[in-house]
């Protein structure tokens, strides 16, 4: 009997040599006459431990990491295949403190299964949601999603059920499901981990959405810097179609749903839903004015559900276990769990799925283990490049859409980027403007002109401390115009990081007392 060994195929693991480790394992095991069956799983999300090798011993998965190819021979010699001790040994990975207290609903399978194995997927409750959905009327599926309280994970937190209901109610010969997998936010990688680690979950979520709203075609718009995710998704769609989970009659139900995988155009703003639709249609990725809502006139002018990967990935669980099982997690109007992503200057970066309500401090200290540099945390940017910078004093806020909004912050896609006390917040603010200037689609006046000029104003402020109060006033007025006037959240939210830096860290802007006049 061969021994099952896991080496992740997630690109975070590949980037640090997982393929080489896998090759070394094959070679060294063969040399030793040991029979191993190597499975390339997704990543568990303990990124500082990648490449993490797991071996199944007595039904337990014992992990070693981070493993370099040159460690392999020694590990085998030390008895890796029997789960023996080694300096890199991590023990039963399920009991690892990083994982043990997570509430993995969406990431339940990621890192555990072979991503492309339909058997594995079904052995772990896969397609239970789809089978349940096929027994329901479309409106009942939508109702379940509504009852679960699931909100969009792409940034805006819009209730998914309401969006679906609008599309269900729209009359059209063709409707679409579009998955926003452009994942452009800094410090985020959960979408990618789902696609690379558990693609059938996304496919299942899409198919359920299609059945619910009457859409027969779905597109996955995947960030162009994610070649592995594109490959895995394409292979998964092919296999799922061949096995009858997709196609003209899903599992013989007579309901059709097909999926097309598309590589994105490589622009941050193409993650904005209307620019994404333009891009999918083959045009320049420029934001559309709303109305019409994409739900009524989206892709090719037809009613369209656009959801983030994580939004749709949460759906199979809701259908399989019922909306209440999901809604039991979370707080206030933020129900369920969110896969948080810890990045930046942090010791234990990775994926932590927790119910809403966990604090940033808990995530950063308990899970993240503080900064990588060992210096004190000065600021955390939550929610991507358009998210506010929080000072240490606000890190005890619960991660909840409304609680953060009350402090001028956003949760976004759940990414946290940590900075220690060496950070120059004026430089961060300038960078926010510059990012916007580079990524702006250029359609609307406030963002197109404000971002370029905003970066210049901050630069002048940095260079001439004497002018700081005047320039700061100008900067606030400029942010006001961007905030109030921009067509989409790119220009409309770029002021968040800028103003939060200015408000919370005035000393970095050559300004004296903190002014609390956030817009």
């Amino acid at each position: 009997m061969s021994i099952t060994v896991y080496v992740p195929r997630d690109s975070a693991a590949l980037a640090v040599g997982a393929d080489e480790v896998a090759a070394a394992l094959q070679e060294q095991a063969a040399k030793r006459g040991a029979k191993i069956s190597l499975v390339r799983n997704g990543s568990r999300g303990l990124l500082w431990l990648e490449p993490m090798v797991e071996v199944v011993v007595n039904g337990k998965r014992l992990a070693y990491g981070p493993v370099a190819p040159e460690d392999v021979a020694g590990l085998l010699d030390a008895g890796l295949l029997e789960g023996k001790a080694h300096p890199l040994a991590l023990g039963d990975i399920a009991e690892h403190p990083y994982l043990k207290n997570q509430e993995r609903l969406t990431f339940a399978r990621v890192g555990i299964t072979d991503p492309l194995s339909l058997e594995d997927y079904q052995a772990h409750e896969g397609f239970a949601g789809l089978r349940a959905a096929l027994k329901l009327a479309p409106a009942d599926i939508v109702q379940q999603v509504l009852d679960s309280g699931l909100r969009g994970r792409g940034g805006a937190g819009f209730p998914a059920g309401i969006k679906w209901k609008t599309v269900l109610g729209a009359q059209a010969a063709q409707k679409y499901i579009v998955v926003n997998a452009d994942e452009g936010d800094s410090g985020t990688f959960a979408d990618r981990m789902v696609m690379e680690g558990d693609p059938y979950m996304l496919i299942e979520g899409m198919a359920i959405a299609g059945i619910a709203v009457g859409a027969t075609k779905g597109y996955v718009y995947i960030r162009s810097e994610y070649p592995d995710a594109v490959k895995v998704m394409e292979a998964a769609v092919e296999r799922a179609t061949a096995a009858g989970f997709l196609g003209d009659s899903i599992l013989g139900s007579g309901k059709a749903f097909r999926i097309i995988v598309r590589k994105a155009a490589g622009s941050y703003v193409c993650g904005e839903e209307t620019a994404l639709l333009e891009s999918l249609e083959g045009k320049r990725g420029i934001v559309r004015a709303k109305p019409p809502l994409p739900a009524l006139a989206g892709l090719f002018g037809q009613p369209t559900v656009i959801n983030n990967v994580l939004t749709l990935a949460a759906v199979p669980f809701i259908l399989a276990r019922g909306p209440k099982a999901y809604a039991d997690f979370g707080m206030g109007r933020s129900r369920g769990t969110l896969p948080f992503q810890l990045a930046g200057n942090i010791r234990h970066g990775g994926l932590v799925e927790k119910a809403f309500g966990v604090t940033a401090r808990e995530l950063i200290e308990t899970y993240g283990g503080g900064t990588e540099s060992g210096r004190p945390v000065r600021s955390v940017q939550i929610g991507g490049p358009l998210g506010a910078y929080l000072p240490d004093s606000l890190l005890d806020l619960p991660m909840d859409y409304e609680a953060l909004a009350a402090k001028g912050a956003v949760l976004g896609h759940g990414g946290l980027v940590v900075f220690d006390d060496t950070v120059d917040m004026a430089e961060q603010a300038r960078y926010a403007m510059e990012f916007c200037a580079i990524e702006s689609c250029g359609k609307c006046t406030p963002c197109r002109i404000g971002s370029t000029r905003g970066a210049e104003v901050i630069q002048r402020l940095q260079a001439k401390p004497a002018e700081a109060p005047v320039q700061a006033k100008l900067l606030r007025d400029l942010c006001d115009t961007m905030l109030n006037g921009s067509l989409c959240a790119m220009g409309g939210m770029t002021p968040y990081p800028v103003l939060s830096a200015l408000d919370h860290f005035p000393e970095d802007f050559h300004l004296a007392a903190p002014k609390h006049q956030a817009a």
């Binding site: 006046t445 115009t481 109030n484 006037g485």
Partner: protein, 793 residues
């Protein structure tokens, strides 16, 4: 449609659901500053100038893109709203040069107007302004791209109205800029409207550039002298001396806010070197300038001598349908009083078999505005975009909203709009193709083909014909239209009878597209051989073709360049040159000295009062905007004096109003009663077999259709005007052993022309499309006759 209540700046109103705050404000007459919004274009909501305060909204909202909801309360000029608007304005001014005094848009710039109200004087931003390189867009539009505020009106115009995306946005963020598609020139037949749409001085009129500041201009209403649409113009005159610009005058029932490029730029001809400004007579083979009295006497003597020696039937009048109603009326009156009945304005027409059968003036058969509501439309024999640029714009919008447009045409035309089924065939095949559609409609209605038309049917209609029939029958809102090419066709009578039968089966309007500004007016004026004014009975004279095929001894020619404005230039020139006396009333000298004996300089449309009757029967009178140039005189005055000199009674008009009153005291009441496309019988029906191997498709290109457009340097420099070629199906080229791009010789009768050859698979194989109305083809014969093509030795 549900009505919603909204309150704006304290005023209440009701608007239909689906309308925006901007719509509601406009209804109340409340002005909200805006740049990208335009009522004829889709909503882009990109300039963000129209931000207003909406009760309960967390942010200011763009009025142009915010739908009204019940009970909405809006403040457009509250401190909150103005602060938001000022913020956007300040941004726009950061990048915009503040040199209005040297900008061509100065004085009529929306940014300037608004910034005077909002701007804070010196900019708070110190960095350099953004600089954008200018683009060469061709002869019509000049650019100052640094001024562009990227409102994308020009881009949306091309996509949505003109049907060709000549301009687009390239680059991203601050590097976004307006670019011409593939660096091509921007000169479709309706490109100039982008100039009016551009709210700043980024796109301006190239011919107008630096000619004048807007406040030096006097505006006069005018009516387009080109196609029969009746486009309303604003003619701008500088210092009472020169027409320096023509702009659209909004009329939603006619041209909306658009102009075709020829409406806009043809004014350049008014001040061309070629204007005839002195009367001239030909004495002993020499042309001499003379006083008016002498020239008029020479005209009278010349015409009278022929009349006395050969009788009045030896005289003929060839009149341009671009002349005014009053001029045409007086010309035919003069002729008829002299006993001459050979009067015609239809020089491009070749089949006059309808004349005895048609009692009304042929017209569009429906209001122009109703083209916006067409559901399905069959156009027979037309190069529609070139013939009717603005009617095409209307049809394009209908097509965009789902209307089905079908062609029975001698070539597959790119109408820059979605097209339904088409029947393309050689000119000689058009009657047969149209008959198939009639037959298919009859079959679908379970009716026999009208008995009289039976001889035209040949077996079963094709699938295409049936598809057209299905589309025309599907719902009400169809129309059948005969284009200029159909009107020039040798079997126009047959095509007309078929179109009529089709429209009767469909119970829908049938009409003819008005080729000239006054095509309908010319009928009403009596400028036809078989009818007097307003369709009254008259002794029948010779039609234009007959007058030229059996040449007269004397001609009165008004407003025409016969070699360019007739169906058969060679025959026309021969006829005129053989005459003893040819009196030409013309604004331009052109080639007239080659065929006339007396040249009388008359005023073009801007230098005289007059009336045009459009193809929908709209009567539009206008006044001159300038004194006639040199010794030129309004033609109606010249004709009046000729009447006096002939000692005719009834030529004592004091004013143009007197002439109008003589036609009828109430034109707008009488005209609609005088229009009519009905026939009192069928003309002889012909399905002509092709006469030879290569049939000529001689359509008249848009910039060669009349004497004015031919003299506009800006129009002549466009790609449309520059492209003069013989176009054939590639297989014909192959068969003749001719390659694309080579110069070929076209032979027609005794005439030849040498033109480059081009291939287009949309042309039937046995045809060559060779433009008419062009100096390079003026030596050729019948525009729809047979030609031979050969390689140059």
């Amino acid at each position: 449609m549900a009505l919603l209540n909204i309150e704006i700046d304290g005023q209440s109103t009701q608007v239909e659901s689906g309308r925006t705050v901007m719509d509601a404000a406009r209804k109340l007459g409340i002005k909200i500053p805006h740049f990208c919004y335009h009522r004829k274009l889709s909503i882009a909501a990109n300039c963000r100038m129209c931000l207003v305060q909406v009760e309960k909204a967390p942010k200011p909202l763009p009025a142009c893109a915010t739908p009204v909801v019940e009970g909405m309360k809006v403040q457009t000029h509250s401190d909150y709203a103005v602060k938001a608007q000022k913020g956007v304005m300040e941004f726009l001014l950061i990048n915009h040069p503040l040199d209005c005094p040297i900008c061509d848009q100065g004085g009529e710039c929306k940014l300037q107007d608004l910034s005077v109200g909002y701007g804070g004087g010196a900019s708070r931003y110190q960095e350099r302004k953004r600089v954008v390189s200018n683009k060469d867009l061709g002869s019509l539009i000049s650019t100052d791209m640094t001024r562009c505020i990227l409102c994308t009106r020009c881009v949306r115009y091309g996509q949505e109205i003109a049907g060709i995306m000549e301009l687009g946005v390239g680059g991203r963020g601050e590097h976004s800029e307006i670019l011409a598609f593939m660096d091509l020139t921007v000169d479709s037949e309706v490109s100039g409207n982008a100039i009016d749409l551009c709210p700043v001085g980024a796109l301006t009129s190239k011919p107008f550039r630096f000619k004048a500041r807007s406040w030096e201009l006097a505006d006069h209403p005018g009516v387009s002298p080109h196609d029969g649409l009746g486009t309303n113009l604003e003619v701008q005159v500088k210092l009472n001396r020169e027409v320096v610009r023509v702009l659209p005058r909004n009329n939603d029932a006619v041209n909306e806010c658009w102009l075709s490029d020829r409406d806009r730029f043809s004014y350049q001809a008014l001040h061309s070197e070629d204007r005839l400004t002195r009367p001239m007579v030909k004495r002993n083979g020499q042309w001499v300038e003379v006083q008016w009295a002498e020239a008029l006497q020479a005209a009278v003597d010349g015409l009278d001598a022929v009349r006395k020696t050969h009788g009045p039937e030896a005289l003929g009048a060839l009149l341009s349908p671009h002349q005014t109603l009053e001029e045409l009326f007086l010309a035919q009156k003069l002729m008829r009083e002299l006993g001459v009945h050979n009067i015609d304005h239809r020089l491009r027409q070749t089949d006059f078999s309808l004349d005895p059968l048609q009692h009304g003036a042929p017209w569009l058969g429906m209001p122009v505005a109703d083209w916006s509501a067409l559901k399905s439309c069959l156009i027979v024999g037309s190069a529609l975009r070139q013939e009717q640029p603005l009617l095409s714009v209307r049809l394009r919008r209908s097509a965009g909203q789902g209307a089905r447009v079908h062609l029975v045409n001698p070539f597959a035309d790119d109408l820059a709009m979605p097209l339904g089924a088409q029947l393309i065939g050689k000119p000689s095949e058009l009657p047969g193709l149209l008959a198939q559609v009639v037959q298919a409609v009859a079959q679908r209605k379970g009716m026999p083909m009208p008995a009289a038309l039976q001889p035209l049917s040949s077996g079963q209609p094709s699938a295409q014909a049936d598809a057209i029939a299905e589309s025309l029958l599907r719902e009400s809102g169809s129309a059948v239209m005969l284009g200029h090419l159909a009107q020039h066709h040798a079997q126009f009578g047959t095509l007309y009878a078929l179109a009529q039968a089709l429209a009767q089966l469909l119970d829908c309007p049938m009409g003819v597209l008005g080729e000239a500004a006054n095509s309908v007016g010319a009928y009403l004026a009596g400028a036809v051989p078989h009818r007097g004014p307003l369709g009254t009975h008259a002794a029948t004279g010779l039609d234009a073709q007959a007058m030229l095929r059996t040449p007269r001894k004397a001609y009165l020619v008004m407003g025409l360049e016969p070699q360019l404005d007739s169906a058969d230039p060679a025959a026309t020139l021969a006829a005129l040159q053989s005459a003893e006396c040819v009196v030409a009333l013309t604004a331009f000298k052109g080639q007239a000295p080659e065929w006339a004996t007396v040249l009388l300089p008359v005023a073009p449309f801007t230098e005289t009062a007059g009336t045009y009757v459009s193809m929908e029967g709209r009567v539009q009178s206008f006044n001159g905007v300038l004194a006639p140039q040199g010794d030129a005189r309004p033609a109606w005055k010249v004709l009046r004096v000729l009447g006096n000199l002939f000692d005719l009674s009834g030529f004592d008009f004091e004013s143009i109003a007197d002439v109008r009153t003589e036609i009828t005291p109430d034109l707008s009441v009488v005209v609609p009663q005088t229009l009519g496309n009905g026939l009192s019988g069928l003309p002889p029906l012909k399905v002509r077999a092709s006469l030879g191997t290569i049939e000529r498709i001689g359509d008249v290109p848009v910039y060669h259709a009349d004497p004015l457009v031919r003299r506009s340097p800006a129009l002549q420099a466009t790609r449309l005007a520059q492209t003069v070629q013989v176009t054939v199906h590639p297989q014909l080229g192959q068969r003749l052993g001719l390659a694309a791009g080579v110069t070929v010789r076209v032979r027609q009768g005794d005439g030849t022309a040498e033109l480059p050859l081009a291939f287009d698979a949309g042309i039937p194989e046995g045809c060559a499309r060779i433009p008419a109305g062009h100096p390079l083809t003026a030596g050729l014969g019948d525009a729809l006759g047979m030609v031979a093509l050969e390689a140059l030795a």
